[in-house]
Assembly symmetry: none
Homo-oligomer: 193 residues x 4
């Protein structure tokens, strides 16, 4: 885990430090210690200093998050299954994330901030992914006639991201409830059956 070269070591260390102290609180000293290298070496890897680190660490962690979600969804067959399992898996990952644990509302927000720049990218990736799924469903004749795949994928992307980032009242760990939500609200107007 720590043998992945200095950059990965630093990114992982930064995520651990952020999990402990909050995003705005950790010091580069901490990160360097956690990554078992000197502050000088850190600046050689990240000439942009702290800003660059936070930025890259956030996108790196986001990528890992979605990679795990994708992995958890791989085996599912239908669109409904993938959405349902994806949301539940994602919610669980967020809940278990060491960053989320023992962190106040503020800290969560701080982290979320760093995540923002990668949001358009994420949006694009998820939408592209869902577009492929929809196209497959379309070829299988399971989409309602007249469904615009591009619009539908955008719509699904927004709903998934919205629900994951702000569950508001919903319990996303309850798979049955999530499935119901997905069926009625997400794919109701899209998929036949």
């Amino acid at each position: 885990m720590t043998g992945d070269g200095p950059r990965e070591r630093i990114l992982a260390a930064a995520v651990r430090c952020a999990a402990r102290n909050g995003v705005q609180r950790f010091s580069l000293e901490d990160v360097a210690n956690e990554a078992d290298l000197s502050r000088a070496t850190f600046y050689r890897q990240f000439p942009g200093g702290r800003d660059q680190l936070v930025q890259e660490a956030a996108t790196w962690e986001v990528a890992r998050f979605w990679a795990k979600v994708a992995e958890g969804v791989e085996a599912e067959a239908t669109l409904e299954d993938r959405l349902t399992v994806g949301i539940v898996t994602g919610a669980e990952l967020i809940r278990q994330s060491p960053i989320m644990a023992n962190l106040g509302e503020d800290e969560v927000a701080e982290l979320a901030t760093a995540l923002r720049p990668s949001e358009p990218l994420v949006h694009e990736v998820i939408r592209s992914y869902l577009r492929n799924l929809l196209a497959r469903e379309d070829r299988a004749g399971r989409l309602r006639p007249g469904t615009d795949v591009a619009e539908a994928s955008d719509y699904l992307t927004r709903m998934v991201l919205s629900v994951l980032s702000a569950p508001v009242g919903r319990d996303l760990t309850d798979e049955a409830a999530v499935r119901e939500l997905v069926r009625t609200q997400f794919v109701g107007g899209i998929v036949t059956g």
Copy 2:
């Protein structure tokens, strides 16, 4: 504008400083100068220091944002009109916001972070507002039969917030395009007509 008592003066000054230097960059010295009072007085008003200031200034600015949107929407008659005008107005406010101007992607993210804690609250407020609108439409018999007002308001809230916070490819200043989006994607399955 500056005669609103020390708290308001400080909050407004903080927003101006954030607009100039970015959220993480402005110093309390700057804010104090901008608000024409001493740093000591600032700490008397905000014992929580910088964190408290950022937090309160963000929610204060968010409240002003939505107040303006609400004001801009007041005169509109139908749900579709309100949504359309609200989105266009909000997008325009965001675009014109001095905070968004000449700010890198990073800076925007930093500010967004501070906005996050108020997001559940915002979600709730918007949803409640839309629920009232939908109920009115329902009483007027303009909703499709079988529409669940609670679900529909949650859904609309998510779409509005999602589109405003991440327009992705859409040009939200184009009212016709927004109206088309609202009609087909937002209220298509809800409102008759």
Copy 3:
């Protein structure tokens, strides 16, 4: 004790605060609280502010110190007795002083500093006092012939002050030892015996 008018109350409070926190450490807030009056009133009594307070409190406390020594010495008959008892009494007062208690070497020094300005005055008072004593001894024919009373009083003053302010190795609470010191070193060349 606290009904002696605002000035005395403040001076006494200042001495108590200095005893607790050290001379440089106590705040005017503390002194005002201790004296049961407001900081505003303090500034009416001591327009010179903190400096004036420290100065006056120091000289006030020094005056009290020497008054007590004088009182303790009153009953003694001979010069040797008065010097001996005076030194022992003074040393005891210094030792018991709340200012000296639980104070580091530094704190003692801080207080001593404030005492310095009054030193020439003290010197003069002690010398004048001793000169009178010596003159009495002279009239009684107990001085060595050729003794210059002025020079002798200056000399005794210096030795007394030096020993009290810097006992170095001597135990000033041991009356016998002090008496021996006084006899051999202080009055040996002056008084016949």
Copy 4:
């Protein structure tokens, strides 16, 4: 003069600042500027902060004072000469000291306070120095029979320090008068001749 390493530079700067503004008045900012380094570096050299600085600067300056006196006295042959020249030299140094110049009575006192902790040490050093001188005189057969060298050195130390720190009425720049004082009051009962 300023190439002696950071500590010496800081100490010298502190003495200069104290000479200008008084001991309690100078700020660490001033000292850092005067020493041509940053406040941060100052705190790296003196983790004890201002207290440690004042303490060390005072003892450092005291050491320099006595070193100069010792140097000025080196060439003198007899005890009487050394005491006389030492007192005159010391008085001159004090008079010329930038710290003493244009300083109120108060400021002198403040500085004296910081000097106090080193007083026992000074006492010891001077006494030891004088003890050696007396022992030499003793070996040369110039001491009165029955003279206790230890007692005599303590006595001389007290007189020298007392006269230097509180000349009271005496003009210590008048070498003849000082010599007369030394002969009659200091060494009169000790040295033969």
